[in-house]
């Protein structure tokens, strides 16, 4: 099953769709995923920040990504 990335807020606007399917083999870590996405979508690099969430938790760059993980790109939040 291909890895899918959920997109929110401005990242959805930048990519132009609400989810993004990764090529196989998918990036193996959060850091590799971010590198891949920033190369594909340079506008992501302009954001104040862009984090990756794995299963609803903020994930550090070295964290491994499993094929069943729920992955999302998290641009700067602005609740409240």
């Amino acid at each position: 099953m291909a890895l899918k990335i959920a997109l929110f807020g401005i990242t959805r606007d930048i990519v132009g769709q609400p989810t993004l399917e990764m090529p196989t083999p998918a990036p193996a870590t959060v850091g590799a995923l971010l590198d891949y996405l920033r190369a594909q979508y340079p506008a992501l690099g302009q954001l104040r920040s862009c984090a990756v969430a794995v299963n609803s938790e903020y994930a550090p760059a070295e964290q491994a990504i499993g094929s069943n993980d729920e992955i999302a790109l998290i641009p700067p939040v602005a609740g409240g």
């Binding site: 929110f8 807020g9 401005i10 302009q46 104040r48 999302a72 998290i74 700067p76 609740g79 409240g80």
Partner: protein
């Protein structure tokens, strides 16, 4: 203590959030209500759109409340309700309500929760002006 946390696309019932935290054991309730202002950074705002990654937002809200409970062990009740979808001027965007036995801690805990919510909870705000829209805080 189980906090009352929700993200809703319906108008927020502020009275219900306040009632949810009231208890005979806690004499102090502090609440923060964030409403839609008619201006932002000098631009006139017409409307707001909030988008939420609900499951993560609730997970992160739970972490925020847990941190607050560690810092203020006297914290007895917490309610946080955040609106999503399209909001008009004056609409309530967020309510945080906390109950403690003593006054000062109710202010401190409520302020900690709203301040930290704004840093970590996965909700995004798009402001609509006379002449366009913008995702708030997206760019440096």
């Amino acid at each position: 203590m189980t906090p009352h946390l929700s993200i809703t696309d319906q108008p927020i019932d502020v009275a219900a959030a306040l009632a949810a935290v009231q208890t005979d054991a806690a004499g102090a309730v502090n609440s923060f209500i964030g409403t839609v202002r008619n201006q932002s950074g000098g631009r006139r705002v017409r409307r707001l759109h909030y988008e939420s990654y609900d499951s993560m937002a609730l997970t992160q809200l739970g972490h925020v409340v847990a941190q607050a409970c560690e810092r203020w062990p006297m914290l007895q009740e917490v309610a946080v309700v955040h609106r999503k979808g399209t909001l008009s001027l004056g609409d309530v965007a967020v309510v945080v309500a906390v109950a403690t036995p003593h006054r000062a801690e109710s202010f401190a805990a409520c302020q900690f929760i709203i301040d930290t919510l704004k840093q970590v909870v996965t909700i995004w705000k798009r402001e609509e002006y006379e002449d366009g829209t913008e995702w708030v805080a997206a760019h440096p």
